[in-house]
């Protein structure tokens, strides 16, 4: 049964293991896609629809009709009379098990029918206000701006500082070089979860608590980035640098004008990773940031979910907005990301 675990392929012949492999791949794709698709579909439903059960597979909304003599638009229902005939009616009000309805073509005549005879008419409807309302009601735009700010500034600083360190480590011989490289690599072994209390004290000591710079500065130096760039810079021939030195270029100019442009592929990989890391960061911003106007998207989103009255239609819309940038980045740069992960073993 588990013979599909074997690896070899028979060219030109399909056997049971090929079918099992395809089955696994397609089933797995569904397992990955369905919860995400469900969140996207649900994010376009009205509040009433999202709380109704069993859930509908497509976003719908109650069909309404404006009738003369009635202030508000009325919802449209189908009434099945006891004799089996069907009739379209508009619901005026409902009291217990009986409902007052009217025939839209004769708006002055209302009559009472049992609720059991009524079935609501719903039509396909995408509730885009789920996306626009949170922008007005909550500080959602603020969260978005904070996250973009943190992501962009931290990524630029990461690229700059990590490449400078990588340049020193790969293109110079100086006392303490290997020790420093080992120290930088050793920070890979120290996860945030182990040092979060004293790291927060340092932030408080630097007067950066509840400040976006407190989130940014502590994440700028990454051992992964230094390592990745150093390995890449080692492949750049030293002759190039020597030639520039002969032409009296300053050391910084060599880094800035020669090494950095040549590192573009490695810088691109690090930039992609950095954007995704910073966009998704959770525990550290959760510790550092305390007032809502400084929240990042992730913190804002998780704090909304913890509130007493959970407004899922808004939460899901904001979840979709939050996963969108990462998805777009992945769609376009999928190859670089998977290859970067496979070759460096980081994520």
């Amino acid at each position: 049964m588990i013979a599909f675990l074997a690896r070899t392929r028979h060219p030109g012949r399909t056997d049971i293991t090929d079918w099992l492999a395809w089955g696994w791949a397609i089933l797995g794709t569904l397992v990955v896609a369905i919860p995400i698709a469900w969140a996207v579909i649900s994010s376009l439903k009205t509040e009433a629809e999202i709380n109704s059960f069993p859930p509908a597979l497509v976003p719908r909304a109650a069909q309404t009709i404006t009738v003369e003599g009635q202030e508000k638009p009325l919802s449209v229902w189908i009434r099945t009379a006891p004799d089996g005939s069907e009739q379209t009616v508009a619901l005026v009000r409902r009291i217990g098990l009986s409902a007052t309805v009217l025939d839209p073509s004769k708006p002055e005549e209302t009559f009472r029918v049992p609720v059991t005879e009524l079935r609501q008419l719903k039509e396909f409807h995408l509730q885009f206000s789920n996306y626009t309302e949170p922008m007005k009601q909550f500080d959602f735009l603020r969260y978005l701006w904070n996250t973009v700010f943190v992501t962009v500034v931290a990524t630029v600083l990461t690229l700059l500082l990590n490449s400078m360190a990588a340049f020193a480590l790969s293109k110079y011989r100086f006392a303490g070089r290997n020790a420093m490289f080992a120290l930088i690599l050793s920070t890979m072994m120290i996860p945030l979860s182990v040092i979060m209390v004293p790291a927060f004290m340092v932030i408080v000591g630097l007067n950066l608590a509840d400040n976006l710079w407190g989130v940014i500065l502590s994440t700028v130096s990454t051992p992964t980035g230094v390592f990745l760039l150093r390995q890449y810079m080692l492949t750049i021939p030293d002759d190039l640098i020597e030639a520039a030195r002969v032409d009296a270029a300053s050391e910084f100019r060599i880094y800035w004008r020669i090494v950095l442009p040549l590192c573009a592929p490695a810088l691109a990989v690090l930039a992609i990773f950095s954007v995704i890391w910073r966009w998704n960061d959770f525990l550290w911003p959760l510790i550092v940031l305390s007032s809502p106007e400084n929240y990042t998207l992730q913190i804002g989103l998780s704090s909304l979910q913890g509130q007493f009255n959970v407004q899922w239609h808004y939460i899901l819309a904001m979840t979709v907005v939050t996963l969108l940038p990462v998805t777009v980045v992945f769609l376009f740069l999928q190859k670089y990301i998977t290859e970067g992960v496979a070759s460096s073993g980081v994520k």
Partner: protein, 339 residues
């Protein structure tokens, strides 16, 4: 400053493409750095290059590591280390004060031991589960003749999502009014409030973690699979070896070093479980069924009514020791795998 065009023509061309604006910015940065070089001498420039990184690492990693140990030996609720009284091993004694380590309710800090127990079970199930699914998926993808890149991308995609997004998506999927309960009602006429039942919620926390991180480990295993030379299999096929035997006698042994590294990496990650479980279970619930060690540290230190920084640091130090042991064994295994 004139650009030495003779140095590297392609580089200069690339620089030109970046545009005039950037060029001006670059020139502005060069002037003070060149002045600095005249002041210090070219030999000291590498220190200038590495300095910002080392400063940040020192402030945000090395100093906190030292402080974490110092905190663990102090008491009180003051955050600043110099205002905290020294209490010796008191925090460790309090954490380790237990009637029986197998029964959290007999411990002085039963929440810590509940968290340890939860983390232990989570680590075991998550490691085995992820390893199984990542291995099978890697084998399947490696075997596919078409659509390999597509499926690799699909399985990897969840890795890039944020823990909050993953927690919320699954919370909605498993909700009272969620899709899964919709199907359950249709087929079995029953509803389960998954995240409010101890057993179910624990199972789903592990499942969601596997769903979330499996693609990362799949990629690493896939890289290992692709490094196995093809001709070994051709030879086995000529000998008439069955596929099942090929897997057990060729693929698995050749992949073993890779799998060992993946296993230890999984253990290291699992011990630190926090983000997605915290969002998915609304803070470790129901009750304390999904409270893990990192959550215990976070709450003990940062809950407004606790602020027990010393106790939290003591727990951090204990977890750090466990992680260090795992990391060292990973390095050892990785070194062995290369030989």
């Amino acid at each position: 400053m004139t650009a030495p065009a003779s140095v590297a023509p392609p580089v200069v061309a690339r620089g030109e493409r970046l545009g005039e604006g950037l060029d001006a910015v670059m020139r502005v940065a060069e002037v003070p750095m060149a002045a600095l070089q005249r002041l210090l001498g070219a030999a000291r420039m590498p220190y200038v290059f590495i300095l910002p990184n080392m400063v940040l690492f020192t402030i945000f990693v090395f100093v906190p590591v030292g402080l974490a140990i110092a905190y663990a030996f102090t008491g009180g609720t003051n955050l600043l280390i110099w205002e905290r009284p020294y209490v010796g091993l008191e925090n460790f004694k309090a954490l380790l004060d237990c009637g029986s380590y197998l029964e959290p309710s007999t411990c002085r800090y039963n929440l810590f031991w509940t968290a340890v127990h939860n983390t232990w079970w989570y680590t075991l199930l998550n490691t085995l589960g992820t390893l199984f699914f990542a291995l099978v998926t890697a084998l399947v993808i490696n075997r596919l003749t078409r659509g390999r890149g597509f499926f690799r991308a699909v399985f990897f995609y969840p890795v890039l999502l944020s823990p909050v997004v993953v927690g919320l998506i699954w919370q909605w999927f498993l909700a009272r009014e969620g899709l899964l309960n919709g199907f359950l009602t249709d087929w079995f006429d029953t509803r389960i409030i998954f995240l409010l039942e101890v057993g179910w919620s624990r199972l789903w926390v592990v499942y969601v973690s596997i769903w979330f991180h499996m693609g990362f480990f799949m990629l690493i295993i896939l890289a290992g699979l692709q490094a196995i030379p093809r001709d070994i299999y051709e030879a086995a096929q000529i000998d008439g070896t069955s596929q099942w035997r090929q897997f057990w006698c060729l693929t698995l042994p050749l992949l073993m070093p890779n799998l060992l590294v993946v296993t230890v990496l999984l253990l290291i990650r699992s011990v630190q479980v926090f983000d997605e479980a915290w969002v998915l279970t609304n803070g470790g619930g129901p009750g304390t069924a999904n409270t893990f060690i990192v959550q215990f540290i976070y709450q003990t230190a940062f809950s407004p009514d606790l602020r027990l920084y010393g106790l939290a640091s003591a727990a951090s130090v204990l977890m750090g020791i466990a992680l260090l042991a795992l990391t060292l064994s990973q390095l050892w295994l990785a070194k062995k795998a290369q030989v």
